[in-house]
């Protein structure tokens, strides 16, 4: 798992230097080269990289207030994770399902590395008109149509498993 996170971080760093206009193929090649060069180091020190949070998120020591804010309504939020081979229309397809179910997107994080598509969406389902079962069923159908795997899980599961 640490590896995918690392690849993501390398990709971000490369884009950061070259700008968003950079040639995709060049970026992909650079990321692959850098990753291969440091792979043995990563394998040995596995775990440490995975525990750091993204720079985008807040500081890693969470105060009681932060924790409270995080837990507030977390049973109303859905974490939708999408994995598969990249092709146009995946983001559109998934957000369409959410929109039709009256779920608004709170956060979205998407990346493509070597043709592999990974996206995580945090959605607010407090106004959702559909049950989780129905939503899940629609995600399954949409996933089949797009040729990707879509998993939807309540945010408090992640909160329970990964935060104390």
């Amino acid at each position: 798992m640490a590896n995918e996170e690392l690849i993501y971080r390398i990709t971000r760093a490369v884009y950061g230097r070259l700008g968003t206009g950079a040639d995709e193929r060049v970026v992909e090649q650079l990321v692959t080269d850098i990753y291969r060069a440091i792979e043995p180091v990563v394998e040995n020190g596995q775990g440490s990289a995975a525990q750091e949070r993204y720079p985008a998120s807040s500081s890693s020591s969470s105060t009681a207030r932060e924790r409270e804010a995080r837990e507030q309504g977390s049973e109303q939020r859905l974490i939708v994770s999408v994995f598969g081979l990249d092709h146009p229309g995946i983001v559109a397809g998934v957000s369409q399902v959410l929109a039709e179910a009256d779920c608004s997107i709170i956060d979205i994080n998407q990346t493509v590395v070597q043709g592999k598509f990974a996206m995580v969406i945090i959605a607010d389902m407090s106004r959702a008109r559909e049950s989780a079962t129905a939503l899940k069923d629609r995600f399954r159908k949409e996933g089949d149509r797009l040729g990707v795997r879509i998993y939807a899980q309540r945010e408090d599961l992640f909160n329970a498993m990964h935060r104390i």
Binding site: Y8, R53, A56, D107, V120, T133, Y151
Partner: protein, 455 residues
């Protein structure tokens, strides 16, 4: 984003690929207010109470599973030991009427097993209790979902060897009565030392007398998750670091279980009881306790050193669980049911795993001789002797131990018996052929150990 991609991926991988599931949400239900002076009327009250209290259980739990995104494999009910609610009943109606009423009610509310056709006889039995024991084989043979257990020993009372002797005969009768189904009734019967009052796992679940009116208990599993982690850890990782790895995973599994349990309790309007974190294997490849042991560095589960490995595993699981939740209870260890664990079946088939090793494993996990098939020619006394050994391990070490053994009628060593579904299939394992008969026939009681005098 609040969670790292690594964290999200880990959870998705656990739930979708490594079979992390909530093994059971078990509704514990008191039947004490159902007791009447007639078994028929008691049966009616029991039927009504189960259907009323557990009517929404399956639907509610399935909804939670869909929302949280974690599979909840089984929905079950555990009842007050039935022997205790028929004490005052006389006259019309047989115990079979009551057993069938429970079975039908369980079917109507959609649960796959209902536990609690049980008796606690670790020091003796009443007149009605004796009749109840004799009713168990027929009750299990003529119902589908009913599970039964008998507690024959505690660290406080010692081992009731009269009960051990009797249970040996009962097990033989169960096997005979379900001869054409490979002795299936025996798979629904557990004999305990130090039985746990809030165990959510079948077949040994019952709702203890110290429990509230109704309660939600949860059994979490996840051998697949631990197996994956151990397999992908460096081959030369020192054992204390391996223990640390397992402990951390167990923490996460327990937290997921507690989330589901509390939510289920809230929606059912019932108190939340305990979460039982026991690694319970399923026949699915990878979802195996034996594979975890093998991944630690053994050619086959059951060879020398595997008791130490299992000790490390159960202890790490307990430590992680205890840190994760203030409500850890039940068995909380590792289950080693031979027929339900693909790698265990294979280990028994190639002769790496013997009954003796399973008995040794009992000293470091919860249920030792579990779902073990032995030749149909095994005598009742030998079965009693196997039980006595297991009970001694539990009583002397102040821990729960149990036996679930199937003397498969007409089968011999080298053959296999199919139970289907979660119960899996089991190779017939050899038993020691030298007689224990004279010892078992003595009856009486093995006194409680000196350390029972703690006051």
């Amino acid at each position: 984003m609040e969670y790292t991609q690594a964290e999200i991926l880990q959870t998705v991988r656990m739930t979708e690929m490594e079979h992390l599931d909530i093994r059971t949400v078990t509704l514990g239900l008191s039947l004490r207010d159902c007791a009447t002076d007639s078994i028929e009327r008691t049966a009616e009250r029991v039927r009504e109470k189960i259907e009323r209290t557990a009517g929404r259980l399956v639907k509610t739990v399935n909804e939670i599973g869909d929302e949280v995104g974690i599979r909840i494999a089984n929905k079950r009910i555990s009842l007050t030991p039935v022997s205790q609610i028929v004490e005052g009943a006389r006259g019309e109606g047989s115990l079979l009427t009551l057993a069938r009423a429970i079975d039908e009610a369980a079917g109507r509310v959609g649960v796959d097993f209902v536990g609690g056709y049980s008796a606690l006889v670790h020091k003796g039995w009443t007149k009605s209790g004796g009749e109840f024991l004799d009713s168990i084989p027929e009750a299990l043979a003529k119902t589908e979902r009913l599970c039964s257990s008998v507690n024959v020993a505690t660290s406080r009372a010692g081992i009731n060897m009269d009960a051990v002797q009797r249970v040996g005969r009962l097990i033989k009768e169960m096997a005979e009565r379900t001869r054409e189904r490979g002795g299936l009734a025996c798979a629904k019967f557990v004999c305990f030392a130090n039985a746990v009052e809030d165990n959510p796992f079948m077949a040994g679940a019952f709702h203890g007398t110290g429990e509230p009116e109704a309660v939600i208990n949860v059994g979490v599993s996840g051998p697949g998750v631990v197996n994956h982690a151990v397999r992908h850890a460096p081959k030369d990782l020192p054992l204390h670091e391996l223990a640390e790895l397992i402990k951390k995973l167990s923490f996460k599994l327990s937290r997921a279980g507690e989330l589901v349990g509390r939510e289920a309790a809230r929606r059912m309007g019932l108190p939340f009881g305990i979460i039982d974190l026991s690694l319970a294997p399923t026949p699915v490849p990878g979802d195996s306790v034996a594979e975890i042991i093998e991944a630690m560095g053994f050619e086959r589960a059951g060879t020398h050193g595997t008791t130490a490995a299992l000790a490390l595993l159960t202890d790490a699981v307990k430590k992680g669980g205890a840190m994760a939740s203030g409500s850890v209870g039940g068995m909380s260890g590792a289950f080693i049911p031979v027929s339900e664990d693909a790698a265990m079946i294979e280990a028994a088939r190639v002769g790496a795993l013997s009954l003796d090793k399973l008995e040794a494993w009992t000293s470091v996990c919860s249920v030792g001789i579990d779902m073990v098939a032995v030749p149909g020619s095994t005598s009742a006394e030998t079965i009693s002797a196997i039980i006595a050994d297991e009970m001694a391990v539990g009583v002397m070490n102040h821990k729960t131990t149990a036996v679930r053994i199937i003397p498969v009628p007409g089968r011999e060593v080298g053959e296999t018996v199919e139970f289907g579904g979660l119960l899996g299939s089991a190779p017939i394992m050899p038993v020691n052929t030298f007689s224990s008969e004279a010892f078992i026939r003595r009856g009486g009681r093995i006194p409680a150990p000196i350390h029972s005098l703690r006051n």
